[in-house]
């Protein structure tokens, strides 16, 4: 399953990158959501997949009973999800703000700070 998930993650990343390169800010945000998910899955998968054994310690034991899932990547991914949400919220707000202020949703039209193409 890990190998299959690795390939799926690759496809997720490719789709995300393609969307982020579109120059359309809404598609960029779709790409951002996808790539966040892909990144979380990458960390999770790299820590190996263990079905049916959450990293909990049963009552009366000093440690987990038998082999349980890798807790470390889970902790990392958990905070990453929340931070990813913060980033997403900020990006969405920024795009909305840009739309209100500049009247465009395409990155290549937001050129206030950039020189025009044919000027030097």
């Amino acid at each position: 399953m890990e190998a299959l998930l690795a390939i799926t993650i690759g496809i997720l990343v490719a789709a995300a990158v393609y969307l982020m390169l579109s120059g359309h800010m809404m598609r960029f945000i779709f790409g951002l959501v996808l790539i966040s998910n892909a990144a979380n899955l990458t960390i999770f998968t790299a820590g190996r997949l263990t079905p049916g054994a959450p990293p909990l310690i049963p009552l009366g034991f000093d440690g987990p009973a038998g082999d349980v899932a890798n807790a470390l990547p889970q902790a990392l991914v958990l905070t990453a999800i929340v931070i990813g949400f913060g980033l997403f919220a900020f990006a969405v707000t920024l795009v909305w703000r840009a739309w209100v202020a500049l009247g465009t949703i395409e990155a290549d039209d937001m050129r206030i700070a950039e020189p025009k193409e044919d000027s030097q």
Partner: protein, 139 residues
């Protein structure tokens, strides 16, 4: 969103969600749950309330500004971490106190770790709520 059924239902649902979020927070150290999850559940409850009854009423129900809640949460988390220095430990070392502990019973644990998780809860709760309120109001 003027459905009376929705408004009436939401009152109970929101209250339930907030209660559950505190439950999730408190049991988090031993079972799935914790500050992040609790904060997310709690904010979802309030968002539901805001969608049904409007942000003004939701803000009144919350009493404090959500941004303030977030900042207090951060301060509690930081204070919990720094308090370890009072006990002569390195910062962010957990300190534990077992209320009513006897030879056989462990007693009720109270710890800086719990305070830290409460801080995380409040920070996540306040941040998300403040953001969604602002969006509801401005957009």
């Amino acid at each position: 969103m003027n459905s009376i059924i929705l408004i009436a239902g939401t009152r109970y649902l929101s209250a339930l969600l907030i209660l559950f979020s505190i439950y999730a927070l408190l049991r988090g150290h031993n079972e799935p749950g914790g500050g992040f999850i609790g904060g997310l559940i709690g904010s979802t409850g309030f968002i539901l309330y805001a969608i049904a009854c409007g942000t003004d009423q939701a803000r009144r129900a919350l009493r404090a500004r959500p941004e303030t809640v977030a900042m207090i949460g951060l301060a509690i988390a930081l204070g919990a971490g720094l308090s370890a220095a009072l006990f002569g430990d390195v910062f962010f070392t957990g300190q534990w106190l077992f209320l009513g502990a006897t030879e056989t019973e462990k007693g009720l644990p109270v710890s800086t770790v719990l305070a830290f998780d409460v801080g995380v809860y409040m920070a996540v709760f306040g941040s998300i709520l403040g953001l969604v309120f602002a969006m509801e109001e401005e957009i």
